[in-house]
């Protein structure tokens, strides 16, 4: 077996040497997100009344670290945006002088990814948060278990009805373990 795939993945994990195919786009989105967070939190911080911005004498006060962090976050965000824009316009198709098609092309070590499924599972988990306030933990866990198991079974090409039952069983076992064995007051 060739050693290339593992060392390639390893290199990408431990150093900055391997450029990413979507690096510029990721830089732009991450930079914009950082600046947005810095602006929103900054507005909340500087508009806060009370004793936050009082002079505490020798003590630097509770506003020091948040203000330092907001400044670093905003600056890092702007640098990321600039880097993303420069990479996009200076060398389309190339990242750091290397052909983008060679950068992180999938290898036999990595599986293809379909993020829509992960977002669907995340949405189900958020729905669980809402459902448990209406129906309680047990029923919400059973519904979530069934949905998760059925979703994953659909991707594996397995029977969905059976997966629904499996999901309910998994939820019931875990709910029972927490409620009865660990005495967690689940409603």
């Amino acid at each position: 077996m060739s050693q290339t795939p593992a060392s390639k993945v390893l290199a990408s994990r431990v150093s900055d040497t391997l450029p990413e195919r979507h690096g510029p786009l990721r830089d732009l989105v991450t930079g914009a997100l950082s600046v947005l967070i810095a602006i929103v939190l900054g507005a909340s911080h500087f508009n806060q009344g009370g004793r936050l911005h009082e002079d505490y004498g020798a003590e630097p006060g509770p506003a020091l670290l948040p203000e330092l962090l907001l400044a670093i976050l905003g600056t890092a965000g702007i640098v990321l945006i600039i880097r993303g824009v420069l990479s996009k316009i200076s060398r389309p198709g190339q990242i750091n002088g290397i052909d983008a098609s060679e950068s992180d092309a999938p290898n036999d070590f990595e599986q293809q990814s379909e993020p829509a499924w992960a977002f669907l599972v995340l949405a189900s988990t958020i729905a669980f948060g809402l459902l448990q306030t209406a129906f309680g933990f047990g029923i919400a866990a059973a519904i979530l278990g069934a949905i998760l198991c059925a979703t994953l079974a659909y991707r594996e090409g397995r029977p969905i009805l059976r997966a629904l039952a499996e999901g309910i069983v998994v939820a019931a076992v875990l709910y029972g373990a927490f409620r009865l064995v660990l005495s967690v007051p689940l409603t």
Partner: protein
């Protein structure tokens, strides 16, 4: 230490928890997509009602055994169970294909135990010395140590350094949410009463390392075929063959223990270094990658020696060595213990408990994996993904609630899981975020104390230790930027 050893040895609950932790770690670690960190995050809420000693017995059991178990799927399926097993598959899987899976797994287990014991000795010998030295640190040194640790994490995590900085700063900001400890002024609470006591590390760790890792695993297209049972062949290699690997195991263990002790360096670096050293020293390097036992022994010894090494910065400086020790710090904080040199002074028996818990975990891993684990692993790997990930996500949600019986914590886990997943998609490492949350209060306390005592920032640059740490941290943070600038200038000239 002997009194602690006997106290734990004759405490059936402590030994039972260690055994349960080892079994859970052996199962979790072997399954592809479930990392050691995820295993610890899932088990973390169970420690809430336990004493700190019992909690450490359980968690270190999970920690050590899951690190070893990562080699199982690497050998049998050609998929590393944990990042530390990435090099093991290079020779482990070819051995399995040649009908020597049993031998490969035995080599991996024995090397793991040798590495684990080496790391344990390294931990018990060096940690007290470093803690003694660290006790002399003042607030400027502490603040510099935290800055240094965060810089290393931002650099060494997957993705790039600048995005690592963003994650670290976001983590530090999460750390300042709540009422300020000195002035009792609320910060970033947005009028939400639950945020006034701050964001708890445990639901956040469950979200970041449990929910988001599960989401990242779910997005991967499942294999079209179920993994097939692999013929193990005979289990035990000859004693002569085993002894011939001893020098490699010891060399790689020393690499693992040393690299593991560097904050954020992690097992992935250690296994790569150990593998390449052995390849370089070998008389027949071309045989590496074709099913050579040494190619299994070297990374596995290094990987497991990292466990002891990673505990050193956590115990002596309060800095997590990796994501797993970040979760372990969460366990200590949950029980009102702050890791750092003070722990050696105020809780020497607890420090001994950590040593003993790790030693028991190593021994129990050897016994359980050696007697039944290797034979059963083929069946464990048949566990359908749908059951596994449904179980993991439900465990995360139930566990987040169980810590404080609070639905707010469940929401923290869900939202941090979603946020962590979005960060992963953007190539932003999530480890610095957890580090930032853990280290934020320590950084703020020492930064403010330094400025109060010394009146200005010069104190950080007048003291040799803090100056050295800050200079290294700045070099680490800005090095990639200058390197890329030089590379670009070189390209332009060409």
């Amino acid at each position: 230490m002997l009194d602690v050893l006997f106290a734990l040895l004759f405490d059936p609950l402590a030994m039972g928890l260690c055994l349960a932790g080892v079994v859970a770690g052996l199962l979790f670690g072997a399954v592809p997509g479930v990392s050691s960190t995820m295993a610890l995050a899932v088990m973390l809420p169970l420690t809430y009602g336990m004493t700190p000693e019992h909690a450490m017995m359980l968690m270190l059991g999970v920690f050590f055994s899951s690190v070893y178990a990562g080699s199982v799927s690497a050998i049998l399926l050609n998929i590393p169970g944990t990042p530390g097993a990435m090099m093991t598959l290079l020779d482990g899987h070819p051995m399995a294909q040649q009908g020597r899976a049993g031998h490969a797994m035995s080599y991996a287990l024995i090397a793991s135990i040798v590495g684990g014991l080496f790391g344990w000795v390294f931990l018990t010998l060096t940690a007290p010395l470093i803690a003694q030295y660290a006790l002399k640190f003042g607030s400027p040194e502490y603040a510099a140590v935290v800055f240094f640790g965060l810089a290393l994490v931002a650099y060494a995590s997957s993705g790039d350094t600048l995005r690592g900085v963003v994650a670290g700063v976001l983590g530090l900001m999460l750390g300042v949410v709540g009422r300020d400890a000195v002035t009792d002024v609320p910060r970033f609470t947005f009028g939400i009463p639950n945020l006034e006591s701050g964001i708890d590390i445990i639901p956040l760790a469950i979200g970041l390392f449990g929910v988001s890792e599960a989401l990242a695993a779910i997005e991967k297209t499942p294999p079209k075929e179920m993994p097939r049972m692999v013929r193990l062949g005979s289990l035990m290699p000859s004693w002569r063959a085993l002894l011939s690997e001893a020098p490699a195991a010891l060399r790689s263990s020393s690499v693992g223990a040393f690299v593991g002790a560097i904050p954020a360096a992690g097992s992935a670096v250690a296994v790569a270094v150990a593998y390449s050293i052995e390849k370089r020293l070998s008389r027949s390097p071309e045989k590496f990658g074709t099913g050579l036992p040494r190619g299994v022994v070297a990374p596995e010894a290094a990987n497991n020696a990292c466990v002891g090494g990673a505990l050193i910065p956590m115990m002596t400086l309060g800095i997590p060595g990796d994501s797993i020790t970040a979760v372990l710090i969460g366990v200590l904080l949950l029980h009102g213990l702050r890791p750092g040199p003070g722990l050696f002074e105020s809780q020497p028996d607890f420090v001994s408990t950590i040593y003993i818990a790790l030693l028991f975990s190593i021994i129990l891993t050897a016994v359980i994996a050696g007697t039944i684990g290797i034979r059963l692993y083929n069946r464990v790997l048949m566990l359908p993904r749908r059951i596994l990930f449904t179980g993991v996500i439900l465990l995360c949600l139930l566990g987040a609630f169980a810590v404080r019986n609070s639905f707010f914590d469940v929401w923290v886990s869900i939202l941090s899981g979603g946020f962590g997943y979005v960060l992963v998609r953007l190539g932003v490492p999530i480890l610095p975020l957890a580090f930032g949350l853990v280290l934020g209060p320590v950084l703020e306390e020492n930064l403010r104390r330094t400025l109060m005592i010394h009146k200005d920032w010069s104190a950080f640059f007048e003291r040799p230790i803090s100056l050295t740490l800050i200079m290294i941290a700045l070099a680490v943070l800005f090095g990639p930027f200058f390197r890329s600038l030089i590379r670009r200038m070189g390209l332009r000239r060409r």
